[in-house]
Symmetry: D2
Subunit: 309 residues, 4 copies
């Protein structure tokens, strides 16, 4: 796609890039440990089809937790709002994304929200299809529809690497199975979830996903309604209340834009009616968010007055 290099964005990227040295890659996913810590790329996609970028926009990265938003959208399409929220809550939590505590302390034993791992596992288990392949295929298809291009795939090496280190997710999935939130085989949902996390794209595509949500589910070029407005609205709401791990509250205060991050260093943001933003910067802060990406979002929010609040 055509996405123009932009001098102003480049300046911001240069300023934010200095923060990459404060970050680290997660050591629990070996395949992510190879990422170039100093890299930082950004794209902004607008409803009129224009796109501005800075940094290396060719490199693809995996979505990791950003995929939770797409999976939620598909699960809502497949099952409807009522079914989904009988199994997953809507509340943000002060606990880390991989905490299991609330599953035990809160009754009924359902995950607090779809953006923590426990909730995302429950959501993935609701994606319909006869096999893991088919269900993953449907998620990829939806992603391609949203982006408006084919050719989206997942990184097998990363998926394999995560599958081998997914014991904490397996622990949560069995906990959820015990309480009937997950009904299928744990191995299946773990495989689906792990592969979904390994879906990869560049920051331009990521910005386009953000743009579609910003436009209430309508494709800006074709005018086609890819997602019902209600589904897009739900996704954006969770991005505000729980999108940035247990720093979501602070991000809302400091940036004020619906956004979802992943441990690959990705951030996808949706500025309602205005634009989508995609960022990849693999160096993470201690809460799992791209350290330079966060800084860049703060700078962009101030410069372009992006905050909803």
């Amino acid at each position: 796609m055509d996405c123009r290099s932009d001098e102003e964005l480049y300046q911001l990227v240069q300023e934010s890039r200095v923060h990459t040295i404060e970050g680290m890659v997660p050591d629990y996913i070996p395949a992510l440990a190879k990422a170039d810590l100093s890299s930082l790329s950004v794209a902004m996609a607008f409803p009129d089809g224009s796109c501005y970028s800075a940094g290396d926009i060719e490199t693809k990265s995996t979505l990791q937790s950003i995929s939770k938003v797409l999976a939620l959208a598909l699960a809502l399409l497949d099952n409807g709002e009522e079914y989904v929220f009988q199994r997953v809550g809507m509340e943000p939590t002060g606990d880390p994304f991989n905490s299991i505590i609330k599953l035990e302390t809160i009754a009924p034993h359902k995950p607090l929200n779809p953006m923590i791992n426990a909730g995302a596992l429950a959501v993935s288990s609701m994606i319909k299809g006869d096999s893991v392949e088919e269900r993953l295929g449907r998620l990829i298809q939806l992603t391609e529809l949203i982006i408006g291009e084919e050719g989206i795939g997942y990184n097998e090496e990363v998926a394999q690497s995560e599958l081998e280190t997914a014991d904490l997710n397996r622990s949560m999935a069995y906990y959820l199975k015990q309480h009937c939130v997950i009904e299928e085989e744990v191995d299946a949902v773990i495989e689906l979830y792990t592969k979904q996390c390994a879906i990869e794209m560049n920051c331009v595509d990521l910005a386009k996903v953000g743009l579609l949500l910003a436009m209430d589910g309508k494709h800006p070029a074709t005018g086609e309604m890819i997602l019902p407005p209600r589904v897009a609205s739900i996704c954006k709401t969770f991005m505000v209340t729980c999108g940035m791990y247990n720093a979501s509250g602070e991000f809302a205060i400091r940036v004020g834009v619906p956004a979802k991050s992943g441990v690959s260093g990705g951030i996808m943001a949706s500025v309602p009616q205005r634009c989508g933003i995609g960022i990849f910067g693999p160096a993470l802060d201690d809460r799992g968010n791209s350290v330079a990406g966060w800084d860049l979002m703060e700078k962009m929010s101030k410069k372009y007055d992006l905050s909803m609040f």
Copy 2:
């Protein structure tokens, strides 16, 4: 003030009022237990000075937790953002408003956010003044400036009643004192907090507070900047992420508007750039929100397309 009875609002109120029978008044505050459970009133205030209402708009109620927003605004004015957030966090929590657990489990030992009781106590302790009277007076003064009218006071009977049943708040305050989040005498901050909760007004005034936040702190009639835009923005953000107790996430999904509730059955909402809403309906659901007020907000959000998301 002039606030016109509105037929459309009246219809919505009639529909929502049926839910009052599902609610209860909190038994731990004797003075609140006398409220008329079936009552429900609402006002919408607009930037052009117009105001529409339904229900008994003359009755005054106490603000309770809604006062946390005003206290936060004043603490930010008094101390600046940095000072305040060194002592209080920005993260929503899945725990109840009066939970003490996170104070122990999260390091450093500061309250998760200014909208739970622990955080609100910390915030009140930052309001400047030589005495509790002076500090409370300053908060009332700010409230009067925001509303644009004098004559705001607090309900002494309710304050006295809550002071006598404030042991859980005292427990939290001493916990915070132990960890140097609160530095003054616990008795002083408990008195200030309890009296601030007992500030009373009618739903029209409440709507006007919401309106000022919706207008980024600028008084719609005079154009005067009562609160800096940044302070108004911070308040609205917390109203989205933590304004409705541990149902804030669900309210964001179902209503999508910055709002703060109190156990007196009040809800104050701010629809950015559009209007402020004030509601009083004393019958509460099990999470402490006005049960009919919540329903009314859902209906208004759908009818007038109020959601930010």
Copy 3:
């Protein structure tokens, strides 16, 4: 074996049996739900070879959590004290036996003690052998040595039933695997643990296990040292501090004897230097202990002055 019916014990059993109506069988293990709720049997085995009993002493029941003591003994024999306690703690906990919370909140992430499920899974994973069969066989062999008779086996129906409902244990095992407390395949340790829980015997055999621990590991008839005194001592200590689920503290106060219970309604007690006691009474109280068995232990403790304290 020869175990004489005793009139005095029979009287106590009759008195305690009335409490069976207050109890329930656990609904999460279908095969246990068939137990005769009103049954209660007891045996006391003494160092001189004498044995007194009351109730139906022919019926065999599964050990369930009582097997945790035998597994701990074997794991200590196999690995030594230091190795075992690097992986499992020694502290009692106020949490239920199947709680997962402390695994997350306490660092390092090891189970608090070998008597809660998380700790027992870790202990079972330390039992040596080339296959689950061999490891289970070694545990059964040790049990036969302790009892002094062959013919101990496990109940396949119960094992199968529990294997199908073991998702919470699987959840814990994966959590422990994530933190390297368990190193083998989760399926293997779950199979071993589930089969170990299904080892079955009658209350006379159970009393003999208690007797051997009471005699510091020395077989009272042959004088053979079946367990090192230190291993017997460790087992008895855990039976005091954590043997009766999260009612262990109360049992110590009310009965004062090292004892371990199981959800099959079994209680095995060791009165140092004096006797072993075996009880089966399937009706459970809300903390998982035999309701009539507990009452019987209180009565026996008072009548025979059994308390250590």
Copy 4:
């Protein structure tokens, strides 16, 4: 009193004293921070009136948490078992002594046991008397009866120092007051508890308290029943299950003797029917127990075969 210096004990003390360098004094009680970190003293008192000691047995130290045992004995005398345990539980906990979490998570909201601070506050509030002075006086009187000598007092400087830093205890007391476990004024119970913690004696007196519990409440010299056997039994049971903070389970495994420690570095132990032990060694480990005192208890337990298990 006559307590002979013993060469064998002296050797053990010398060996254990090296561990004092691993310890620290608690920084939250300024008056305790002045203690001589390298000091270590011990006394063993026997039923025949003989007494053996090593180290500086003249120095008096405050009891701190050891006073919880004496207060529990008096509360049981004043109110009976049933009354006391309606307000305080019997279960050990894996949480630190000053944790407030379980008060919120466990229903009904009563402290888990009388040896954690929350439980000890509840216990002290049950000591009868018309004033704090009278109630403290009654506790001191009981202590003098147990020791068989007059002249016991409390250290006013330490009491004052702790009163000024007791905010966490105040926090717990208000929490308990909210839930009606404590009924009196918080200030009163805090004053009583703080002064009771400051009761001071030397290690010989401490050994005599341990001896009386070891002898089931009967004074070994006079034969007088100072405490009912049941009260002595309850005290010793809690000393096993919860006496050494959240290292009680490990102490039971490694030493196997009922014991209670305090942050002044004191340890009081009761070996049933055999002897009482008093130790003061102010350097503490990270769980609040005398680091050299613990080591000395391990050595004495092995050398004199003191374990009950």
